[in-house]
């Protein structure tokens, strides 16, 4: 994969052509802007976090049937995607009132919506991204009725997938923005998913865990971006193998004997034997279940256990 000329430089990313027809590289920047570019700054490490988070989220959405532009993560801050003919409409889904909506409708911050709202905004820096009604979209010829319906439906489906996803990771998904585009006549989810384009609040403390920390000068901006990635990056779905390694029968286990002696002296006379071993967990993302057992056994034979002195047992868990 070869990076070719710069096609577009936006506020958060640079988009490059590649030697593959129809594929582009998004290079995520550390630069941050807010309030239509009136506030500017650098968030150290943001490019890395946003690229990696987008990679994780888009792959997760793909596995759940959402068609996205994502191909793969290329480096710590670059993503390879399909090139889309972008529809200049931003779709926003809100579970809670915050920011502009709270102000516009006079709702207290963090009021929960009766049901998720879907809104359309015109992606236009000159106009300051004004809100659009469906009639406006039709009038401007930005998308047809069918596409509007489809974008709204996908946006709600994404919300249904991601709300519990973030909930499990200790984060409330308050709202988020999506961008769509067309490829071979079909609608694809494009752009990014990161703390730049959504609001996340810590489930326990309510702490702001997104770009609002930058907008409102709340401090700990870098740390927060890193923390969000840590929470979602930690355990991706996949197969987990547990390996239990214990000293072979008939092989002396000095540590086990010492523990046995200590238990006896505490009055636990019922203990006949103690053997102390090791417990290893392996996460195997993207591996077919049928192959796991054989592979892990091979790992045990070659490295994890020493068959001269140790026995092992493997447990697989999906």
């Amino acid at each position: 994969m070869e990076k070719r000329e710069l096609i577009y430089e936006g506020k958060a990313k640079r988009v490059y052509a590649t030697d593959q027809i129809g594929q582009v590289i998004h290079e995520f920047k550390d630069e941050a802007t807010a309030f239509d570019g009136k506030k500017r700054g650098i968030i150290e490490g943001k490019g890395r976090v946003n690229a990696q988070m987008s990679d994780i989220i888009f792959r997760y959405l793909e596995r759940r049937g959402i068609r996205t532009h994502h191909i793969k993560l290329l480096s710590e801050n670059e993503i390879l995607t399909w090139w889309l003919e972008m529809i200049p409409v931003e779709i926003i889904v809100r579970n809670y009132a915050a920011g502009s909506l709270a102000k516009r409708l006079g709702l207290p911050e963090r009021t929960e919506m009766r049901s998720p709202l879907v809104e359309f905004y015109y992606k236009s820096d000159e106009l300051g991204d004004p809100m659009l009604s469906r009639e406006h979209v039709r009038e401007l010829g930005l998308a047809d009725e069918e596409q509007m319906d489809e974008m709204a439906a996908i946006a709600l489906k994404v919300n249904d997938i991601l709300r519990p996803y973030f909930e499990e990771r200790g984060l409330v998904l308050a709202d988020f923005k999506l961008e769509f585009g067309l490829r071979e006549g079909r609608l694809y989810l494009g752009d990014e998913f990161s703390p730049d384009v959504c609001r996340l609040w810590d489930t326990e403390t309510g702490e702001v865990m997104d770009k609002d920390r930058f907008r409102q000068d709340l401090g700990k901006v870098e740390e927060t971006y890193a923390e969000v990635l840590r929470r979602i990056g930690e355990e991706e779905t996949g197969i987990t193998a547990s390996v239990f390694i214990s000293p072979k029968r008939g092989i002396l286990d000095p540590a086990g004997q010492a523990a046995l002696g200590a238990l006896k002296s505490l009055g636990f006379d019922e203990v006949g034997e103690v053997r102390i071993g090791k417990y290893i967990t392996l996460r195997l993302p993207g591996m077919e279940a049928e192959r796991v057992m054989d592979r892990v056994r091979e790992m045990c034979e070659r490295l994890l256990a020493n068959p001269i002195i140790e026995d092992y047992r493997i447990e697989i868990e999906e």
């Binding site: 000095p254 994890l304 001269i308 002195i309």
Partner: protein
Amino acid sequence: MRFGVVVFPGSNCEADCYHVINKVLREDVEYVWHQETYVSGYDCLVLPGGFSYGDYLRCGAIARFSPVMDAVSSFAREGGLVIGICNGFQILLEAGLLPGAMLRNTSLHFICRFVNLRVENSSTPWTNRAAPGQVLRIPIAHNEGNYVVDRDTHRRMVEEGRIILRYCDGEGKVSEEANPNGALDNIAGICNEGFNVFGLMPHPERASEEILGSADGLVIWESIMAYHAERG
């Protein structure tokens, strides 16, 4: 004679080995990095002590897969002299170049002190300068030196004279009391079938100058040199 001292991340006795070979024996010596995939021009390779790869998983278990170990294995297969000291011995065991394995010392303590070793076979490349049954005073420093091997292999090793050093008392008596770590049959050092690969828990490089309290380690170094000189 030209020695190569193999350095793994976490080795910490390589400088001692280098010093003894270079300054005491006055022989050629070079460090061989663990990333090396090819070794040549050496008459003897030394795997020194230490905590290669932090001793994670098991002592020597990760070091044995370093690139240099393929080269060490083929060097040994072609009859080259390979000596593994302490952690180096553990690496040779994990690599299957010597039989058996190491358990934790029965005392569960890291033991660092002088021990007495009886030379059980004095006609090897490693011990030809020792008198039969000679007692050597050399220090050990390890947590996992409790050697085990299956019964058949043990019997065969005894028959073939491949048990080279055993822990004993000052008079050369091999006994339970003289066994510092619980090793099977008081085994402190063994050879492969060809006698060109030698593993031992004691550190001869720490006892090769009188100022260090013993120069008995020289018996081993000088045996290697004598063997090499004779073989030509």
